[in-house]
């Protein structure tokens, strides 16, 4: 046996093993609580900031009601987008048009929805 080393009996080693596992669980559970709390604080702050920035933006949007409904020349209608970034939607439409070998303005996309 190497000097300075500890020899444990079965009971002691079982107890140490259980204690160690418990410490890991407690440590990570407490960390989980901290992360959840920090996440909630961040979320509420972001929500407040969004609400503030949305309020002034609403006024100019209301000033131009009809023009936004007009379609671009050659366009085949507008498309409803659900849970999809407009950039991604544009890319999807371009890829489909390319694969079909048809101009984009001859195709009609009704809606694009992310499948979850």
């Amino acid at each position: 046996m190497i000097e300075g080393r500890t020899i444990l009996n079965v009971g002691e080693s079982l107890l140490d093993a259980a204690l160690g596992y418990l410490v890991v669980f407690i440590g990570l559970t407490l960390l989980m609580i901290v992360v959840v709390v920090v996440g909630k604080i961040m979320y509420s702050k972001a929500k407040k900031a969004n609400a503030k920035s949305a309020a002034p933006a609403a006024a100019p949007a209301a000033a131009a009601p009809v023009t936004s409904k007009k379609l671009a020349p050659g366009s085949a209608g507008d498309v409803k987008i659900y849970d999809t970034d407009p950039r991604d939607a544009a890319m999807i439409m371009a890829i489909v048009a390319d694969k079909l070998g048809k101009p984009l303005n001859e195709l009609r996309f009704r809606s694009i929805k992310e499948v979850k």
């Binding site: 500890t6 079965v10 093993a17 890991v24 669980f25 901290v34 979850k116």
Partner: protein
């Protein structure tokens, strides 16, 4: 003429295999080094470290056969006797790095970085800089899976005690179950340095074998229905949250368990470099140059501890078996808590992500993804499994911190 030839033959390394009492052991270790090289190069088992470990083992054993009449090894690259004196409290060279520097070979000097705990911590800076904690922040429950998957650490610790290892050795063997090479190396260096070679080889070999070890356990412990569960998309994590995370974890975990400071501190420092966005150069160095240089030194130094006289023992076989048990039970622990979450959430959590709680980033998460997709081809579990995967890194660091504080003297 004949005298010169005779001198040349007797002084050659080949003759050393027979004249040196441990010569045959060195010969066996050279063969083992070649097998490790084959595994690293041909089978690509953790090649970045396995090749270094194999070369370290090869160099240490090839250079250790040139023993002089007084029993010293003047040409050896690594001297086990110097490190024995370094650890012997009765020796005048106890904890004398100066003695190592003046009498050691190349690998002895490189090994100082292992002994001082420098390399594992620097690797943790690199790992931190490469890790995205976003999936963990968006789903903090992953931390429970990371904790559950440390079961094998403590199960193997208990098993090693039963097999006659002392507490320090058992703790070092148990930490193999954390599936985290640097953590295993740091813990073993602090608690049972005499076992560093076999523990490092076992840890890295089993990490490479995760795609073979985990799937049978995943299939045995989960049903087809559970494996095919599709999980909800994770929420987006803001940059501020990502910056705050390493700071909060460092303060919280280190205050909770101070012995985790080297590992958690370095891991989170590396991550902070990545997330701040203002230290891109440092982040780049940590992820690439630093990581590669330290991996090089670490592999060779750890491999050099595999000298025949120390490695070829019954204990090595026990360590290899216990390492496999540790890995398997860590996987089982993660899967069982994953199943519990599946039940508690009414089937919203796929239990396969639990097995990713053993660190081994990102291989364990990839295995979860692959098995999930086998059950349901439209299943994408990778990002969900990355949460428990990175939580496992924190979990194994806490487990190591606990064992070091309990048995570190």
């Amino acid at each position: 003429m004949l005298e010169s030839l005779s001198k040349l033959v007797t002084e050659s390394g080949f003759a050393g295999f027979f004249s040196n009492p441990d010569g045959w052991r060195n010969l066996v270790m050279i063969a083992i080094a070649c097998v490790l090289l084959y595994l690293g190069i041909k089978k690509q088992y953790e090649p970045l470290l396995m090749v270094g470990i194999a070369v370290g083992c090869l160099l240490a054993n090839v250079s250790s056969v040139f023993m002089t009449a007084d029993g010293s090894l003047p040409d050896a690259l690594y001297h086990q006797s110097l490190w024995d004196a370094f650890l012997d409290e009765t020796s005048p060279y106890y904890h004398s790095y100066g003695h190592i520097m003046s009498h050691g070979g190349l690998i002895d000097i490189l090994y100082i970085g292992v002994k001082a705990g420098l390399y594992p911590c620097m690797i943790f800076i690199g790992i931190g800089a490469m890790t995205d904690f976003g999936p963990l922040i968006s789903n903090p429950k992953s931390l429970l899976l990371g904790a559950a998957a440390q079961f094998g650490v403590f199960f193997a610790f208990f098993g090693a005690n039963l097999l006659g290892f002392d507490a320090q050795q058992s703790a070092s063997i148990g930490i193999i179950g954390g599936a985290d090479g640097p953590t295993a190396i740091l813990t073993t260096t602090k608690l049972a340095p005499e076992l560093l070679g076999p523990i490092a080889v076992a840890a890295y070999s089993y990490m490479a074998l995760i795609p073979m070890i985990q799937p049978p356990l995943m299939k045995a412990l989960t049903t087809e229905k559970e494996r095919s569960v599709k999980m909800e998309q994770l929420r987006e994590v803001s940059k501020t949250e990502k910056i705050l995370f390493p700071i909060v974890v460092t303060i919280f975990i280190v205050l909770l368990l101070p012995s985790t400071a080297p590992l958690i501190g370095c891991l989170m420092f590396g991550n902070l470099l990545k997330e701040t966005g203002v230290t891109e150069r440092l982040s780049d160095v940590a992820q690439n140059a630093l990581m590669n240089i330290v991996t090089l030194f670490l592999g060779i130094s750890v491999g050099a501890t595999m000298v025949g006289s120390r490695f070829l023992t019954l204990d090595t076989i026990k360590i290899v078996v216990l390492g496999l048990i540790a890995f398997s039970f860590s996987t089982i622990g993660g899967l069982l808590v994953g199943k519990l979450m599946y039940k508690l959430t009414g089937g919203k959590v796929n239990p396969l992500i639990g097995s990713a709680g053993v660190s081994a980033v990102p291989m364990a998460a990839r295995v979860s993804q692959r098995e999930g997709q086998k059950a349901n081809p439209s299943n994408f579990l990778l990002m969900h499994a990355m949460g428990p995967n990175v939580a496992g890194v924190i979990g194994s660091a806490i487990a190591a911190g606990f064992l070091i504080s309990m048995f570190g003297g």
